[in-house]
């Protein structure tokens, strides 16, 4: 990425500090060796998106480059707690175990990374080499040159599991803007959402909603209220309705505040039905 690209990304981030552009910007700075700047960008992003696994992955890669492997491990550990299938985090932790000479654990994480990102050829080669090393008794548990591409080459993971577009809600009002389907880990599965100024915010809202999902479930469980069914919220300019079409998915409906919550509930019911059909077809 050129300096000009970095300037553009920096400008975008300055114009919209809530933008997810900090991820490619931080990564670009890291690759250029501007680690201090990359760390600042990653930490600022994490302050805004503490539940975003990609942000923890970015910080971990920067820390890895800085040689702070313990903190890098902790950041990847957090990324995996947020998203158990995060390829970058599995790859990073796999690398650290490899460096530490714990080949079985390294293999476990590298295989998980490969499952999440089967197209990564470097990863496939690394898995093969670690398997070979494990199969050969007497070979060094701590090879002199790491076989695995380390954190420096870890590419950022996709911000969304599937850019499946609006097809899930086809035929429904707000199919492309105002209806969002996400999985329990905060990854957008379908639909879309824009801020009042037209900026797409689906992915970042999805990342936050995973936390709402967990908090709502926790509150209902610990207060013995039984399984939760919905969360409705009114803001000064919009009404929101959240529900879970299935145990592993969450649906958000946003309308301006002229649409009463009761009507939102009916619309959410129809959207949930569409989501369930779509999810059944997808699996």
């Amino acid at each position: 990425m050129s300096i000009e690209d970095i300037r553009v990304l920096t400008g975008q981030l300055a114009a919209d500090p809530s933008s997810l552009v900090f991820l490619p910007l931080g990564e670009a700075l890291r690759r250029r060796g501007q680690l201090e700047a990359a760390e600042k960008i990653a930490i600022a992003g994490l302050t805004r998106y503490p539940d975003l696994a990609d942000a923890h992955d970015l910080l971990a890669r920067v820390l890895g480059d800085q040689g702070d492997l313990e903190r890098a491990f902790d950041e990847w550990d957090i990324a995996l707690r947020l998203d158990g299938r995060h390829a970058g985090a599995h790859k990073g932790i796999g690398f650290l175990y490899y460096v530490a000479g714990d080949l079985p654990k390294a293999l476990e994480h590298l295989e998980s990374a490969l499952t999440a990102d089967p197209g990564d050829e470097g990863l496939a080669a690394a898995v093969a080499r670690v398997r070979e090393a494990l199969a050969s008794p007497g070979t060094a548990q701590r090879p002199s040159s790491p076989a695995v591409d380390g954190p420096a080459d870890t590419a950022p993971g996709p911000s969304s599991l599937a850019e499946v577009g609006p097809t899930v809600f086809d035929g429904l009002e707000g199919a492309q803007d105002g209806l969002l389907l996400l999985d329990a880990e905060g990854l957008r599965l379908g639909g879309g959402l824009s801020a009042p100024d037209g900026t797409p915010v689906g992915d970042s809202v999805a990342a936050h909603l995973a936390g709402v999902f967990r908090d709502a479930e926790r509150a209902a469980r610990l207060l013995s209220l039984g399984p939760w069914s919905s969360v409705a919220a009114e803001t000064a300019d919009a009404n929101l309705f959240l529900c879970a079409p299935t145990q592993e998915s969450l649906l958000l409906l946003v309308r301006d505040n002229s649409v009463p919550i009761g009507r939102l509930s009916l619309q959410a019911e129809r959207a949930s039905e569409a989501a369930r059909r779509w999810l059944e077809r997808a699996t």
Binding site: S18, L193, A195, P196, D197, T199, V201, S204, V205, A207, H208, L209, G211, V212, D215, A216, R218, A219, A220, L222, L223, S224, L225, G226, P227, W228, S229, S230, V231, A232, A233, E234, T235, A236, D237, A238, L240, V254, I261
Partner: protein, 116 residues
Amino acid sequence: MRTDILSSLESITRVRGVRGAMIVSAEEGLVIAESSMEGIDGAAVAALTAGVVARLARATEAAGRTAPAFVHLRAHGGGLMAVPGQGDLMVVAVTDPEVNVGLVRLELRRAAEHIA
């Protein structure tokens, strides 16, 4: 505790289906005042409701919207409703599943105005 605040909470708990009402410090998730919370762990209600509301506020902020002025978590066995007041305080009600949501919301808003 100011008597008008307590009487606001009592107005909420007088609504049929409301099990209890409380004023919560939104940031810390701690109970400031409560009314008729029999059989309900007030500290847990405060902490957990504040958690949901804070998290939802971050989601609405990410969506370019203002912070929620009313939140209703509905569950099969009951519900939680919250109306943030000015500053750090928030009024919360714990309800049965069958409750007049509009009426509770109205009383929560009145109470929120009193604590402003």
